[in-house]
């Protein structure tokens, strides 16, 4: 017995859903989706659950994470009900829901709040710079320290609890029985998806998009590794320096293409971009570019006279680490991978 909640669509609209109420349940979206299978049929099921506002079912579902938004469903929807965008907004809704702090939801729903957060972090960085008297060495040192501490803190206090919450909603609460051995055996799934996004290959819109995405993930993770572990800005190892250059270049070059797409909004996937989507790609671009420039300025030995560049880089970095990673679109990267893992656990 299910009680329905028609008011749910108002809630979902705040997460960016468009017109999904128009659905007349023909199933065309499911049928054109190349990722949909007999055992895993979507997006119509999610559209229907959203129309009826069956929140428990939505929260326990992993299907929103199984969609990589090629946009075919929306292109061919006879009612122009935008199932693809609904899946996107469900991902935002779920992100907000998994987040114990509640900040994700607030920022998705309110652009003002997001801007305030960005301004506040910017102010904090400036304040810090003032406190150290704009001393480059100190700032560089702090920047490196910050990266490590932020990863650890955000990871343990926000991301990990949120993943646990996701696990609770999707596995524990629906009373799915999973043996410990299965947890162990299936763990490979998590890493494969995290690093390759293998599933997106199934999207038949274009393989190039997957490739770009793949390169970007590899580039981003390697850049993270290069800066945090190998201390790119501080190192003198030529190998590390060149590696950092390559990785940061990959990040900003690939993101340029993504940003262009968002701006043109021609393809289905980018027709209904939300601020959070734009922040994500723009900040990623800025991260890559400023990191590249910082190291370049270090190598050219002109960073000292261009401290503002590093302050800018640090601001981007701090905003990325404190806003976008824990409460923004970055989490999708994590949730998707875990969704694949959990799906594997649920299978059979």
């Amino acid at each position: 017995m299910s009680k329905i909640n028609p008011a749910f669509n108002k809630e979902l609209e705040k997460f960016g859903s468009v017109n999904y109420n128009a659905c007349y349940n023909c199933g065309n979206c499911t049928a054109v989706c190349s990722l949909s299978t007999e055992d895993d049929s979507f997006p119509r099921e999610m559209v229907r659950l959203s129309v009826l506002g069956l929140e428990d079912d939505i929260r326990s579902s992993l299907k929103p994470w199984e969609c990589y938004y090629c946009g075919e469903c929306s292109t061919h929807c006879p009612q122009e009900a935008n199932p693809g965008e609904l899946m996107m907004s469900l991902r935002r809704y779920l992100t907000a829901h998994y987040d114990w702090t509640g900040l994700s939801g607030l920022m998705y729903k309110s652009l003002t709040l997001s801007i305030i957060a960005f301004v506040a972090t910017f102010a904090a960085v400036i304040a810090f710079a003032v406190s150290v008297g704009f001393e480059l060495e100190k700032m560089l040192h702090f920047g490196h320290m910050f990266e490590g501490i932020a990863i650890g803190t955000i990871g343990f206090t926000i991301l990990l609890p949120n993943i646990a919450r996701m696990w609770y909603y999707t596995i524990l609460k629906p009373k799915t029985k999973v043996t410990f051995m299965k947890y162990v055996k299936s763990i490979g799934e998590l890493f494969i998806h995290m690093f390759t996004q293998k599933r997106a290959l199934g999207c038949d819109d274009n393989q190039f998009r997957w490739f770009e995405h793949f390169i970007l993930v590899i580039g981003y993770l390697s850049l993270l590794f290069t800066t945090v572990v190998l201390n790119w800005f501080g190192t003198s190892s030529l190998f590390v320096i060149v590696l950092g250059y390559i990785m940061s270049a990959i990040v900003f070059v690939v993101t340029i293409d993504f940003v262009k797409g968002r701006m043109k909004a021609k393809k289905e996937v980018s027709k209904h971009s939300q601020p959070s989507d734009i922040f994500f790609v723009v900040w990623l671009f800025l991260m890559g570019l400023t990191a590249f420039m910082v190291r370049l300025f270090i190598d050219l030995d002109i960073l000292e006279s261009n401290k503002w560049l590093y302050i800018f880089h640090l601001t981007v970095l701090v905003q990325w680490a404190l806003i976008i990673v824990p409460f923004g679109k970055w989490t999708h990267f994590l949730y998707r991978s875990f969704a694949m893992y959990f799906a594997k656990l649920k299978a059979d």
Partner: protein
């Protein structure tokens, strides 16, 4: 007596496989060609007997072979008997020499399971037709003068439109309405889909147009009680019930007061019994004709109204009018299905009403939707109540209710605040451009659930709440429960429960019990009774546009029948053999039309047939002991020779 043998031509139709797939048409052809070679001088098969090419060929054959009579063995005579009679006429044969054999509906289709049997039967049927053709003689048709007047029965939109259209064609119209007011169902609706005009405004517009034509006589509160004669000359007796109000002496304010003082309260049928009205009443202020009426059945004659209004006159008497019309156009409309006691909580739950009631409710409420003192926020609509029944008689789809419901739901949503609509349907049927309305409704947030006939929604009452449960096809058959303030049963269209007019005119009904046309595509507004056309929803569920289209079609047909001022009728009447007859009066007694006269022919008193009155039913034939009566074309010798051929 025997003249030279007739020359008969026989055509056996393939009907493009409809016949030839089951009946060996070539065998049929051979068997008639062989055995009756003397008289069957020509026997052919043809792909489509009714095609233009074959018709041309028939005309040539008749002339070239000097045929006296042709037989086409094809589909039911109801379809193409007239077609081939006309072919005979074009070849200068008398149309009554033509004989038709039905080897499709009564052979190939009926026995598609037995090809040999079907072929054998077809051979016999064709032989029987040959036997009949042997005696088929040229006959003169009776000519009658047609009265250029059409009686239109029912003054809903269909009847009103038909009347206007006929009047425009210089035809006299008598528009007869049983109710005291015109407008029918459309007058009951305010908002209509596809237009900004309300139903009442539309009725007003049509009524004002009616008044423009001198050749239209409007008779409200009137009923046809007798019907005599036939096409071209139909006499009708009309009973007009008085309004008991003298229209000329009527002052509107006085009448208003008269209504106020009337102590009688009866359920208001105009508002589908949602409220009550007085015994002297008008359904709505701008209703036509603009004179109230006293409902005699419920009036107690207390005299209160007379005290305040001079116009009231209880001395008015019922009047009987006799009119003559050339054709009758039926536009008697439909009833809304009344759910059975307890059907989806009808009559057992106080929050359950029907769609027409709901539409009246929205029209009569402002700002807030209140029903039985409670504000309504969530509404559940249950579709197909009384339509598409699997365990009831109404197996048909009522065509209109999906669109009508969605329109009502959207109207409620726009008129009142915070309305939530739940639609429990069995597959939406917003055909054509009406689909846009469905899309609009979805976009506005209305929620649809679907079930099949084996899982209809269930309505139950829990405290003040009415609960609707359904296994929703659209959500993997999951059981869904909805709380509703009001449940609206989407009742379909059913034939008028009072069918006295249909009985009076002997109108045949179809499987769905609505009046039946001769043929849905060939003669869609004509009935088997010559001169009687049907229009609007008395023929089956229709929306306003469709009703008006059929009304104008029927008007065209009635006009075509009468426009020439003269009509031909079949001369297939009874005949008396003066040798055998010695007047006993049995035939006179049997005749339902007073067509038998007692005459003296010089030698003795015998019976004689009045050809213009006789309708050729043959009731006089079996009662004649000396066997002096026969029907032309159905005489004993024809029937017996057909029996010979069929054995």
């Amino acid at each position: 007596m025997e003249k030279k043998p007739k020359r008969i031509g026989v055509y056996v139709c393939h009907c493009g496989g409809n016949i030839s797939d089951y009946v060996d048409v070539e065998k049929v052809r051979r068997s008639v060609e062989g055995e009756d070679a003397e008289i069957v001088v020509l026997a052919k098969t043809t792909m489509f007997a009714c095609s233009d090419a074959n018709q041309r060929e028939m005309v040539e054959d008749i002339k070239a072979n000097n045929l006296d009579s042709v037989i086409v063995s094809s589909c039911s005579p109801k379809l193409h008997m007239l077609t081939f009679r006309n072919v005979s006429v074009r070849a200068d044969l008398n149309k009554f020499t033509y004989v038709h054999a039905n080897i499709r509906e009564q052979a190939s289709w009926a026995h598609s399971d037995d090809k040999n049997g079907a072929t054998e039967k077809a051979i016999h049927l064709v032989k029987a037709a040959i036997a009949k053709a042997r005696y088929a003689e040229p006959l003169e048709t009776n000519k009658i003068r047609a009265v250029k007047t059409v009686a239109v029965i029912g003054a809903g939109v269909a009847g009103m439109k038909a009347a206007i259209s006929l009047a425009q064609k210089n035809t006299d119209v008598i528009l007869i309405e049983k109710e005291p007011f015109v407008g029918g169902r459309v007058a009951q609706w305010d908002s209509l889909s596809t237009t900004t005009e309300t139903g009442k405004e539309m009725v007003k517009r049509l009524y004002n147009e009616l008044l423009k034509y001198d050749n239209i006589t409007i008779m409200t509160n009137s009923e046809v009680i007798e019907n005599k004669g036939s096409v071209g000359n139909i006499s009708l007796k009309i009973k007009k019930t008085p309004r008991f109000i003298n229209a000329t002496a009527c002052h509107p304010d006085d009448l208003k007061r008269a209504i106020e003082v009337c102590p009688v309260e009866v359920p208001d049928d105009f508002n589908f019994r949602l409220n009550s009205r007085k015994a002297i009443y008008k359904n709505y202020p701008s209703e036509y004709p603009q004179i109230p009426v006293i409902d005699v059945k419920n009036c107690t004659r207390c005299g209160e109204c007379e005290k305040v209004c001079k116009a009231i006159d209880f001395n008015e008497k019922e009047e009987i009018f006799e009119i003559v019309a050339g054709s009758v156009l039926m536009a008697t409309g439909f009833d809304s299905y009344t759910p059975a006691y307890g059907e989806f909580g009808y009559a057992t739950s106080e929050n359950v009403i029907t769609l027409p009631q709901f539409k009246r409710l929205i029209d009569t409420q402002f700002d807030k939707l209140i029903y039985k003192g409670k504000e309504i926020k969530t509404i559940a609509y249950i579709y197909c109540v009384g339509s598409r029944q699997t365990d009831g008689e109404n197996t048909y789809c009522s065509r209109n209710c999906c669109t009508s419901t969605i329109h009502a739901a959207l109207t409620a949503k726009n008129k009142f605040k915070n309305i939530t609509n739940y639609h429990f349907n069995r597959g939406l049927r917003t055909y054509g451009k009406q689909e846009i309305l469905y899309a609009d409704s979805l976009r506005s947030g209305d929620i649809y659930f679907q079930s099949y006939e084996d899982g209809l929604p269930k309505v139950s009452v829990e405290g003040a709440k009415t609960i609707v449960k359904v296994n929703d096809v659209l959500t993997n058959n999951r059981e869904i429960e909805v709380e509703a303030d009001l449940v609206v049963l989407v009742t379909g269209m059913v034939p008028r429960s009072d069918n006295s007019i249909g009985t009076l005119f002997k109108l045949p009904k179809g499987r769905d019990k609505f009046y039946n046309e001769v043929h849905m595509k060939l003669r869609p507004v004509e009935t088997v009774i010559d001169g009687i056309t049907i229009a609007g929803a008395c023929q089956g569920p229709k929306n306003i546009t469709e009703s008006v289209n059929s009304a104008l079609s029927a008007a065209t047909k009635s006009y075509t029948i009468l426009s020439r001022g003269e009509l031909e009728t079949d001369p297939l009447v009874a005949t008396i053999d003066p040798e055998k007859c010695s007047w006993c009066g049995a035939c006179e007694e049997a005749c339902p039309f007073d067509a038998i006269l007692k005459v003296e022919n010089g030698k003795k008193v015998i019976a004689e047939i009045n050809n213009t009155v006789c309708k050729g039913c043959g009731m006089c034939a079996p009662v004649c002991d000396p066997d002096a009566v026969n029907l032309i074309a159905c005489s004993s010798r024809e029937i017996m020779s057909m029996i010979d051929a069929l054995v």
